[in-house]
Symmetry: C2
Subunit: 475 residues, 2 copies
Amino acid sequence: MSLPAPSSPETALIDALAAIVGTRHVLTEPQAMAPHLVEWRGLYRGTARAVVRPGSTAEVAAVMRLASERRVPVVPQGGNTGLVGGQIPFGDDQIVLSLGRLDRLRDVDPVTDTIVAEAGVTLQRLREAADGVDRLFPLSIAAEGSCTIGGNLATNAGGTAVLAYGNARDLVLGLEVVLADGRIWNGLGRLRKDNTGYDLKHLFVGSEGTLGVITAAVLKLFPKPRASATAFVAVPDPASAMRILERARGEAGGALTTFELMMRRAVEFVLSHGTGVRDPLADTAPWYVLIELTGQDEAALAERMEAILGAAIEAGEATDAALAASLDQARAFWRIRDLMSEVQAHEGGSIKHDIAVPLAAMPAFLDEAIAAVEALVPGCRPAAFGHAGDGNIHFNVSQPPGADKAAYIAGWEAMNAIVHAIATRLGGSISAEHGIGILKRDLLPEMKDPVGLDLMRTLKASLDPLGILNPGKVL
Amino acid sequence: MSLPAPSSPETALIDALAAIVGTRHVLTEPQAMAPHLVEWRGLYRGTARAVVRPGSTAEVAAVMRLASERRVPVVPQGGNTGLVGGQIPFGDDQIVLSLGRLDRLRDVDPVTDTIVAEAGVTLQRLREAADGVDRLFPLSIAAEGSCTIGGNLATNAGGTAVLAYGNARDLVLGLEVVLADGRIWNGLGRLRKDNTGYDLKHLFVGSEGTLGVITAAVLKLFPKPRASATAFVAVPDPASAMRILERARGEAGGALTTFELMMRRAVEFVLSHGTGVRDPLADTAPWYVLIELTGQDEAALAERMEAILGAAIEAGEATDAALAASLDQARAFWRIRDLMSEVQAHEGGSIKHDIAVPLAAMPAFLDEAIAAVEALVPGCRPAAFGHAGDGNIHFNVSQPPGADKAAYIAGWEAMNAIVHAIATRLGGSISAEHGIGILKRDLLPEMKDPVGLDLMRTLKASLDPLGILNPGKVL
């Protein structure tokens, strides 16, 4: 491999990167870089000097040492599926550090119930590897075919199994991280308990690549549930849904895996635009809940679900319910929920919010937020849905039918401001699971405790004193 | 209240502290200070300039501002039940910051399933408050009558319910922390999901008072299990026990709450010295396991437990088992486990280890460690017990009968070195749940990743640049 002699600082950098990862893993041509520069929905279109694709932790470390010496800003990137622009480079001086080639499953151990995966392993492959040893890796999000575990951890991904298994953060036992200056922290412990000093892993999980580059992780595996009970339930209002949640927690305890709340309108969008879906219930209702219990005993779960639903109907908290009689029927219920996000594109512009509130405040939030956006944009169509069991709602609002999409989307920030103010007043969060990235960076100072924000800046300054790791993101 | 005019810098500091918390809450008399200076087993006897008992977060903040201005070292202290000396002051220039008067339960909310408690609330009171609203706060350790939640969080306490509910760390939703310079971070969020920036709470949990002073916390409540199944099981060896663990996880999933492994000798010590205990099984066995399943359905749990035990006996993993037929019988099984630590004092000197290893390595660790200590001190009596379900064993070793206690205890560090080396080689930890404090501080550099240790020092320097928070502990 013969390289041209360095003719400029620009070339010198590219040469130095190529010397680390190999020429064909330094992309500089616009066409080659393109998939790494554009956010998948087209919301963000970035620019970069190069895309670098290291093949090992040692190469990541060498790239970071070089970047540190030359003060080159580095944007770590996994599957490029993030929703807040955190993975997109914005500047001709920036390099994208694409972790896709770090794709080894270093170890799968069904006795210790752990899996050691490199950052670039896709979530789907990870789940399949767990399945291969009769275990469950419970993280489950819509993008699982292309998102990578490194990105999942960097953004502390959520999804539909958080209620029983926690966020991505809760599924990690150990991490390997390359620091801003290229040092490698080997924190790949497999211990369930270890009180020997500060918990460093939680610092990097959810830091969106601004404090270090996660290169590998030890993840927890769980026994595979052998049985499930799934119900699609009609409820009159969110307050009733939250009472059913309390009931389900009391009756089923840890077996309650999923509790998703959906507005009728969100279900209608799926029925209109999804293929192979049908309404699970004969009559319509203003709200629905998808409940799933999982465990080891089919009959016991069914009995428990029937007890929950029977009591809820008797108390007037539910007006109707369908209990899946087969795995196919359960999948049909899930399909409605799974399609909910993508079908909204068929209804014109959609202004999105990723809200969490304390469980007790969920009904108040929905009442107030729906009234507020309808007052702001008459005719707009709230189509909220989400992980109500965790207090997390994707409060998405579709444009009025026939309205101008661009004009509606131009009101994004104004609507956000109103909805976020309601969430914040109720003790809530403006980013329950998607992170901050660049989309919500400028909103942080308004809603974070100022001392907490100062602490974040202190941590950033001490771990990345040159400010080369994903600059302009989060802070 | 008239105070003498400041006559020396010493008096001036005491006066300034008294002006913040009131004269009667600044203890300087040896007798008044004594309970705060001595570790409860007498292992550590410290010295201090004063013990300060603030009554509010604002007073804690004012004390830390003063300490910061005058560079006075501060040792935060809860119920003074720690096992590694972290809460003991060592220096006439140090002040003890006793959090016992911060004892308000600020809020108990069974809908959001949260409780907001100040640092000085005892674990027992917290559990009772949860119980009062028909909820469970699952943290359970032997010292719960006197330990406080602030100390539990500062040390990331473990206990007997970690398998199902996690460590103290996993039970926290939000924190209020006074920083070294007296600023107050209000991070008392009640959200199950919040991805707005770095996770600061995990930095303070488990930092043993070296990064900040936890003054209050938002804690998770859980549905109260209505039913349980408890079994006392005889097993031939640790490998069999770990196979039963795998079986129990597969059969019972999240219902498996407790899986404690005990050497026959540890049981014998209880039978010899405990009151009102008897052997649950007719024949003796070299090892025992205490298994508990909890949930909402008595019959289903009993059936599941019988399935686990039946299969284990058939596979030769268990040689006998007693399934508790009543709550009283379950309590009798638990009493054996609960007394295990304290009765060891009746058998002379005991050299202790708080080990965690990856689950798969548990049998190898026990085999090797028992052989190694028996070779080191012929006639010594390993009496190991602990939370095998989490990979955590209290590998305690009693002196040979009739040996000189002081001479035996003088070999503490030599035995630790051998046992810790085995644990470390197997990917384990030398402090699974008790922390580092001063007891294990000097061992850290030998077993931590050097970059990780550097990161800890970086964090310490950035959050406590003057080094006034619990100096000499952990690092």
